[in-house]
Symmetry: D2
Subunit: 363 residues, 4 copies
């Protein structure tokens, strides 16, 4: 396993779904950043299931405990370790999946890789619950970025077949917390809720797309060729369970455009170089160009559905039928919004330190 | 800049478009792998422009020179340094782009980042020419993977608006070198050629999509949570200039499916666990599941078009008009096919070493 | 700060002397290794002060809590997080050292580096207490190495001016836990105790030398040129507070020898290639040669002495006199023995994984 | 193999003793640093054998070729690749050592590690010749450090039994290039020459000690706990062939001192905090304290002696006698002086970038 990411702002994830806790160590955080539990808790609360349609019935307070790296309310430059305890776990169902792996989950390849020693309870390390650690790290990154005027906002742009209309970065910033789906368009949000309810009623699940923008980034952030801002963000976003695609700006749609349409002409806004549109999503050659960074992450439907599915009994090596019970999200997309923000924030904080944008001490 | 990728199979890229050479160091290559210049040359030749419709008129033999790490035709375990010289360069045009940056290229953010010291000739480090280094590294990785029965094949699935019909992994393997576009469907290929010719005639450019499959991978390769096979591949593929999106398996299309449709049921093929379909693209939870790994990379149109474009004169800080002359590809997608294969090969070789699949000495 | 070490067996240290806890995350530990709290506790207990002459009066049970990565008594392949709580802390004295830094401690450079935000209580991250984390990681590494027959034993070879006679590796293994000083020679041990008592009586402190041997290593471990076994061990050992020198085999004494004396002639022991003596300390060109690995770490005296010392008042920028009270070790060398073993074990485990000696799953 | 070192200033070494060339890639060098071949050549010339008593008869011009990363005499921010060609190689002798490995060399463990595929000619990757690459990287690092007033000077302090008297940092700076031994004391230098001549006449070899100082470093450089300035330097210095010990400040001698003697009292020099003496060698807790950084590296005698030595015939697995002919240094210490400077410079440049001391663009 390789549970660290980042070069100067280094995030190390640990913990399992049904173990004692889920946690994270953030090493390389600048000293002098205001950080109290409440700041982290706010993001953790956005990730929680309560209030959200179609979300798991697992109910945990997810109270962050700051174990190190903070003194008198400020980061010290030392590694920040944070944990949330697992309190509402029910592991009875999972032993079955060791023998008859769930389609769409990592049960089977994990069994092969770890020789059967991996913790199967709640999916262990492969559970979406580990993203609580990502969120805590992201909250630290955001506290840092906040000091230099960089802001990260994500929103739900599609769920199932429902797509919200395009929304410009400034509007996203204002509207992305207006409803429990983090959708900036109220009418689309209502349709999305209906789609989720419908999926849940059938015992099925649906996926969707989260868009994330980063505002306030100057040009020149990113470390090409292998640590370009797009490369590093893509790596981090694919670490979120269920992500199957990542695109920047107009993304795959650009593949069908002509160069004369795809290029963003340079222009001026006062003394600032801008582009007349932003189909590149603010990234050229792995470097930010001063426009808002825009990316989308595509989430497949959560694989735990209540319908009978075909699998293999790994003991007898015969076909078997599996029906999953338990408490599962019919759609994890709304809860993933803050997770996308978090991993993007961590990457931006790291690249910001690498380029000198983020100082080592915040004075 | 950060020009290395990989943990155990570590690729370090160097060189500029119009400097003396483009090169790469591969550190961590297992000892005992047959490697001669011809093996690398074969992939380099696939990347060259000759024969290809719409490709640059720049003509260089791109002959690889193996500078280290090979003794008597076998890798020694020492770093393998390889270079190709730049011979056909014409840098006159590029000084202009320092002052009036080209839309869609990295001229502007690179100038900001490197304080004007970056080499502007031919785009310097931001040129597609640096992918010659990726291809050389990939050829080494493929020589390694070949010894353990892992094969990597990419093909062109879309150019401009033309999309080739789906093609299964075994067919890709047989057909992806049948034409100069690396398209497995001859009829689509003809339409793609027409689309490229049309774009070139207009002085415009078009993009497209490359699909890549990895055959022969066992289950359990990948190092979650941050070095899952999808995370690491995405990072590497986004380092290829012009890539704007990466997806695995059914990718973004999965976001619109139901879980009951999206999940790939497990099945048996003799004694081997397989899935009945492969919408996951062979990756679950960052781990391979034993099915072919399938990914797609979306390329925007090459930004060098011969039409007048709006930009900014960075000296006077006024709007300016820019017309790019020079020798540019109207469509780089066909030449990118071997580049995608190469970076995927490097990542798989690295993850194979990390998991123990690839031995440190090939005996 | 950079609190991680290792490439495949990656140790991340966190926690402060007077914060809530000291801890460590071990990422990359093979799955299937028997690991229970008792195994780790045994090494932690060896590091504790109790029983040891001249040791701090700070008394903490240092009970390890295994937070993740272990399931049903075996490692799972997931990161192992372990903490010990800080319970017996008295931070009153330390605020003074922010203004008048202690000679020989990191108070002054840390204040400069972290802009005054570093946690000064008990020395914060610069306290010897953080080595409790190293010891926990080392215990995991030893559990792994134990499975493949590799053993790590350190002993005290000098304290103050008292030097123990040379001791061969097999004897070290038998004798290094026979007394509280971890000295293999009882007579030297008695003199060392007297030297420590004498230093303590004067309010002074003394240093010493720890020698460490690794038994059971095959030839060929190490990753030259920059991750040779000597390079990686030296890096790790210098992370232990108070270490000022590291040498392998005959070390600095070899600088005065002739080549004809210094070289270890090859010989045979049955079918095994051995060397007739081991002045190289088992390492040639960064690679193990199959003989016991032998290294020595030199520790300066602990800088907290009860005598008046000259320092600078950083507020008034005038000379000042400082007298340190509090509970400090008169000699930390005996307690450092298990710490040296621990960091060496972590490095060997990492290099063992990198070379394929240590499997990813222990079956 | 692992041939890279550094996090932001990343040095990758390649090449073999008798291959085509020895080279290095420096990635992460700040843009805007004046760099021409002459600057690098000057250090390479100091490493060459000519003029030096007891040095190898191998005569190569060692002319650096700058392959990338420099444009119009300034670094661009792109990776700097540099090579020197191997021209005067005679590989006939080395095949013998594959079968009957040389005592004190890496022949035997390398054969085991690389399954016999390693390049044996001239010792391959294990030859001192690869330090030409270290020197080129060091020259780049020094060009960077020069811009911020940091200077690195090493000198020979012992050869065989001859020890030069202590020399303060400012004197080292003035005197360390006054003779071919890089010894700051002329009288000691003469005795050292005699000792080398004597060893050579016997067909034997001798080692020695190099001391290195870094001047102009502010307090607070280093990234504890695992990338302290001492940890990182030790790692790099042990990568130089034949180094068997590294110590900082008074080093191992401190182990015999009392704390009241060992501590360096703080004092003031005008408005600057200094220490009254510098037994710590300028490093406390892994951080520089503003005093000159002082370290010593102990070199064993070069293992190639012309006397008969006992070894093992690895084909027949019987004892054998080996007599090495060929062109070898009787003492490599004087040539190693610039190599120690080089690796220390690379580490300081890296840590300087990590702490913000070194800017990413030199304006």
């Amino acid at each position: 396993m390789s549970n660290s990411i980042g070069t100067l702002f280094r995030v190390t994830s640990f913990g399992e779904s049904h173990g004692q806790c889920v946690g994270v160590v953030v090493d390389g955080c600048p000293a002098g950043v205001r950080l109290e539990a409440e700041i982290v808790q706010k993001d953790l609360d956005r990730r929680r299931a309560v209030d959200q349609v179609g979300a798991t019935l697992r109910r945990e307070p997810d109270l962050v405990r700051l174990l190190s790296g903070v003194h008198e309310g400020y980061t010290t430059g030392a590694p920040v370790c944070m944990v949330v305890d697992n309190t509402d776990t029910d592991s009875r169902a999972y032993q079955e999946f060791v023998r008859t792996p769930r389609p769409g989950h990592a049960d089977y390849p994990a069994r092969i890789k770890y020789g059967g020693y991996n913790d199967p309870r709640g999916g262990g390390r492969f559970s979406g619950r580990i993203t609580a650690g990502f969120v805590m790290a992201g909250a630290v990154a955001r506290a840092v970025l906040d000091r230099i005027g960089v802001e990260i906002c994500a929103h739900t742009v599609a769920i199932g077949g429902v797509e919200a209309p395009p929304c410009d970065p400034d509007a996203i910033r204002l509207l992305n917390r207006q409803n429990s789906l983090s959708c900036c368009d109220e009418s689309s949000s209502a349709s999305m809720v209906a789609a989720i309810e419908d999926a849940r009623a059938r015992g099925d699940s649906i996926g969707g797309v989260v868009e994330c923008v980063v505002l306030g980034l100057p040009a020149g952030i990113g470390e090409p060729v292998f640590s370009g801002v797009d490369s590093e963000i893509a790596r981090a976003v694919f670490a979120i369970p269920a992500v199957k695609g990542v695109e920047f700006g107009a993304g795959f749609a650009l593949c069908r455009a002509r160069g004369s349409e795809a290029n963003d002409p340079y222009s001026l806004s006062g003394d600032t170089v801008v582009t007349a549109k932003n189909d590149s999503g603010g990234v050229l050659g792995g470097l930010t160009n001063g426009m808002p960074l825009v990316l989308r992450a595509g989430f497949k439907p959560t694989p735990s559905v209540r319908m009978a599915q075909q699998t293999v009994d790994l003991e007898t090596m015969t076909l078997a039928e599996l029906t999953i019970s338990g408490r599962h999200d019919a759609c994890i997309v709304p809860r993933a919004v803050v997770v996308v923000e978090a991993v993007v924030a961590s990457v931006i904080c790291d690249l910001g330190l690498r380029s000198g944008l983020v100082p080592r001490v915040m004075r």
